[in-house]
Subunit: 384 residues, 4 copies
């Protein structure tokens, strides 16, 4: 399958560039009979859209989504759902001068080497703007997972530059511009961002995504594992440089007695696995974390070369997010939703008739999603 489609059965094929007439996608494989309207999708786009606070890019995009197909009398028909988002704020003149040199950290050089030409307006196809259609598609997946399986997918920012953000409560996530599950730190984060913006530099971020309510059994070993497909989807988000499932890199220095999650009739006693064992969901929370690099477009001068290979300096004065990670939470949620919906379909394709006599183990009682490196304190530590 060509490079712009994600998924096997629940698929999304995106199109568009930052400054073309429109961006959008085709969602294929959505089950029929689900109520769907633009109003199911728009809130997710609104969470992602630029211009919602002074800490993100001031580009003005309404990001109004239009459903072109696949819905009849308010219900999905099982046929492809095409979604269209017009590009409104296309100040292409901003980008004229960068057409002839390569912005460090951007895809300018690699696109030119690959294709022999590139659309320099706003990064063209490589712009983070192209996450909008995926968020729209993810909203459909999210809804289906919720109404069909009771799955909820939520994310929150766990680190902003050097600032680690403790998890306090999910209810705070939508009350601040950072998607922080924390109320206490918000003023400090705002001050940090104000200083950063003034400095002209940018910073990275880390965030967590958690799916609650997924049944055991989703995932296709080997190689369509649930963790592998999550890694692909999440690493495919612009600016992501690392992906963890459950304990992630903290597992390196754990002992076996610490890491592997014991079980009891009351449920798993911890969730270092992040809800996935052998590539298949356990029924616990599915927990992933991603690292997002600092925005590459910054006001400070950077050394580079031009298209003839001569030395050049470049500074970027367009409207850019000083931390692209801030708006990444709804994006990561969308990609997790797309992967889970795909695997829900794949699982029942093969295993719809499985009648498992084995009782399902309840999920662990308490998962602390903010502490992803050690998602659950083991109530009875091992003697090892």
């Amino acid at each position: 399958m060509s490079g712009n489609t994600l998924g096997t059965l629940f698929t999304v094929t995106t199109f568009g560039e930052s400054h073309g007439p429109a961006i959008g996608c085709v969602v294929d494989g959505c089950p029929p009979g689900m109520a769907l309207a633009e109003s199911d999708i728009q809130p997710e786009l609104d969470r992602r859209k630029p211009g919602t606070s002074r800490h993100v890019t001031q580009r003005r995009e309404e990001d109004r989504v239009q459903i072109l197909s696949g819905v009849h009398e308010g219900l999905t028909t099982g046929t492809p759902i095409a979604l269209l988002i017009a590009n409104e704020d296309q100040r292409s003149k901003d980008y004229a001068k960068i057409a002839r040199s390569f912005r460090p950290g951007h895809a300018d050089y690699t696109y030119l080497q690959k294709y022999g030409l590139r659309d320099p307006r706003g990064g063209g196809r490589s712009s983070a703007r192209l996450t909008a259609p995926a968020v729209a598609a993810g909203a459909i997946a999210k809804k289906w997972l919720r109404v069909r399986f009771g799955v909820t997918i939520r994310g929150h920012l766990t680190q902003l530059g050097p600032n680690v953000i403790a998890f306090e409560s999910w209810e705070y996530v939508d009350t601040n511009p950072f998607f922080a599950a924390n109320r206490t730190m918000v003023p400090a984060l705002e001050a940090f961002m104000d200083r950063l913006r003034k400095s002209g530099d940018s910073c990275g971020a880390r965030l967590a995504v958690v799916a609650a309510g997924a049944p055991p059994g989703w995932g296709e070993p080997l190689y369509g594992r649930l963790d592998a497909d999550l890694a692909q989807a999440l690493m495919g988000i612009n600016a992501v440089k690392g992906v963890e499932i459950g304990a992630g890199f903290a597992a390196v220095s754990q002992l076996g007695t610490e890491h592997s999650d014991e079980m009891s009739p009351e449920g798993f006693l911890s969730n270092h696995a992040g809800g996935i064992l052998g590539g298949i969901s356990t029924g616990q929370d599915i927990v992933a974390a991603i690292a997002i690099k600092p925005t590459s477009s910054i006001r400070l001068a950077r050394r580079t070369v031009d298209v003839e290979g001569h030395p050049a300096a470049i500074e970027t004065h367009g409207r850019h997010d000083p931390c692209v990670g801030i708006r990444a939470t709804p994006i990561a949620e969308a990609f997790m939703a797309l992967v889970l919906a795909d695997h829900a379909l794949r699982h029942r394709a093969q295993n719809a008739d499985v009648d498992c006599a084995t009782p399902r183990i309840p999920a662990a009682a308490a998962t602390v999603p903010g502490k992803l490196a050690s998602p659950l304190e083991d109530p009875d530590p091992q003697e090892a």
Copy 2:
């Protein structure tokens, strides 16, 4: 495509279980006309095979590979290459008692929930033994990348439990049982492993894989990005819980002026990107790191439940690696090779006619592969 195939054009489909008669794979899409014999593949299997030191499992498997098809008079024909590896040491009695309860950290519970039944002998399909066919397939990909593009792919262990292993030189990697690019620390690592083995517990590991010599242009944005596909392949290896490209999670606390790699006519000035920008290779070293969880099969008693859901205790006395990460280096190399070979084919499918007038920027002069969190010290740090 179903769950046991990796890749789009250069594909590997594996089969087999830990204690069945044989394991193997079908490699499809390999270009024709390349010299290929079992002797090209066997050395990679030998690097991975059990029983080579006291620090790994003592299961005895010769892992002799047989080419069943796709090669005529010593040359690949372009048709599927089937590889067969007989299972020799199948002490299935070892596993009889674990058939009725779930080993913590293993896929026992998830396979049963997914399929309604499972092969308990040695973990069945979920055994790390199933990485052997992938290593064999990867040997073919590695050879093709080397003879066609001059690409070399090498890995090394960067952390063993709590022990961080500094990169000293590639030449040390094959001189110790740990794939450590370091000579100094080997005695300490051996002592650590002896203590660990005696304790009955297990530990995690971290390792790095580096591909040198890949040209710019490989990768299919969005969503078949090179980094995304690497993440999928590497996260799909048994026991992997995290994947990083380039700076990885260290990017979270970097500034934009630190992270994004500047360019000069002499080349990139650093490689925090890990050789990939916008999902496409830059021509620099492609650098990935993975986190491997501690072995779940340990001698110490663990709480679990049996297939009726009653409480149980389990301890595992089979032959197991106290650190599965030790043998993971050739495995990670193989998966990187498979992904790169696939993308080499995909790239030239679409872009064989691209004649890029833009000069290629040389790769950075010095990449220190052991320091993946900051792969290259910037010779002229930014003022930000």
Copy 3:
């Protein structure tokens, strides 16, 4: 891959329904650097569009195509090309009364059984209107095949109901409303169609598609054979009930000495194979034929059942083609182009480095495309 995408590397994903706001598609994998504008695509849509003669449906659709992405400054960029066609003439009231019963020969019953609901307006997704996006996508494939390889793809009607249409010359195809490569028979065909239309009934058709200029080597045995993929693409066109390659069903009663095409230094001596041997192109003309069933929507009363399963009668008074085969020639050409473009990419992915020392055999001097059952008279019949 989900059900609305065709192709492996050069892919087209369509969306839309007969009476929704728009139909369209996303073309992915097109090589970069090719000049492309709406004016390259519109002529193919104009050949297919309704209302061009009294012999086809009088529905009014301008079928203006708009390129939404993938083209920058007049050149393809290698990123997805989204094409949009607005639906203009949506007289949905015409269809209100057929929503509750099943039209014989249509997909009404099967869509309802599959999805549990259906869009009855104009057949919804199953309307032949959905061939328009494929024709648009095919225009891009056609252009690339022409400029890159010199391939030309042409089709013509070889039978209209009981009327077999002899091949006279390609130049006549666009001079009559039937895509007949014949001038002599046109008045008789017009009279036949007038009588048919007056009767309220409909008829079937047969047509041939020929690609000239394709090099040997395209096709992926087994199972991505060129003939197999052509069969899939052509059988996937609405109303197609049969596909032949080369001699097709005439091969059943041929002898081996008749059918298999001999070779000489001057070229193949015949082309019963239709340009494909072992699933791979020979370099000769690639020749396919399809059978198209009579239009199911007719004015005459038909017995059926309603959605409660009660007996009903139905007659269709919308605007329908009395022979859907008449407008099928550009559609079949488009699908052949899409398959060939896909295989051109797939071939060079694996075999770009093949340097075949064997001289290419020239294609046969004379192929008579109208006589597909025996495409070339053997100049020197066998003695067997």
Copy 4:
């Protein structure tokens, strides 16, 4: 996906060449929990295997199948099922002299042009011997369709060279060496084959395959239509030159009132559609027919060229079927089974929750499978 895999969810990946050590396949996606042993597969291979009568090739191959994986304690586990068939009768010396020239009608020339080299022993990968693994895989699909849905798939020869074979009864199919559903004609067919064999020439054949018992709803419009995927699978069988669904090419000269199948509360009144409307199964018999070209390997001298392009003559004295169509019936059944199993999985992936309030229309009472060109006489002809 690369070229040697068939299917999306229920997939088969084959490997091997006519004269290598072994041929085989990997079947992926088979649902778990089904009883499976070699004895379920062997009978289908025995129906296909050479040497069973004087009318087929005398090559001696036992074609014993071995299950290497995917079955535990007699039940499928849901993991890949690898099947191995050793090649026994490899008289490669027979083929030494044909290595340097191209056999007309064979893939010798096209493989060489595509890959730059070829395995000339017995046709290598392009040998019809490679249908054996597909027959083995198809046996698994057949069993699953039968035990899960009550689907039965049967084929029969409808024409042998010029001899049209009327359908008398399914019970005769396994009582003669031709898979003819006819007892009366067998002596004439034997005499015809004896004359043909003596002449040194070969002939074509036509056969029909019918699946009974499939529910409505299987098929993925557009483009994974059930008819399209059947066409791909059947056209992909060696020597097939044409595929028909239902009325097939006879639809060309039918009127709409003849072709489209009316419905009544008692069921469809005919089955010209061949059980598929809009790419989706209707619940009636699924009926396909294929044309098989005459064997290309014949004893009579044929003109060709050698690998330097010089004129040559070739006659083939190996052990060949004078009509490859004779053994094709189990092959065609296998491919239909593979396609249906794949679509059964795909359908329930998306539509498992569909609760269709509409009553299912019974299948037509009487389908005469031998008369595929007009599968059912309409009991009450239309007035049109």
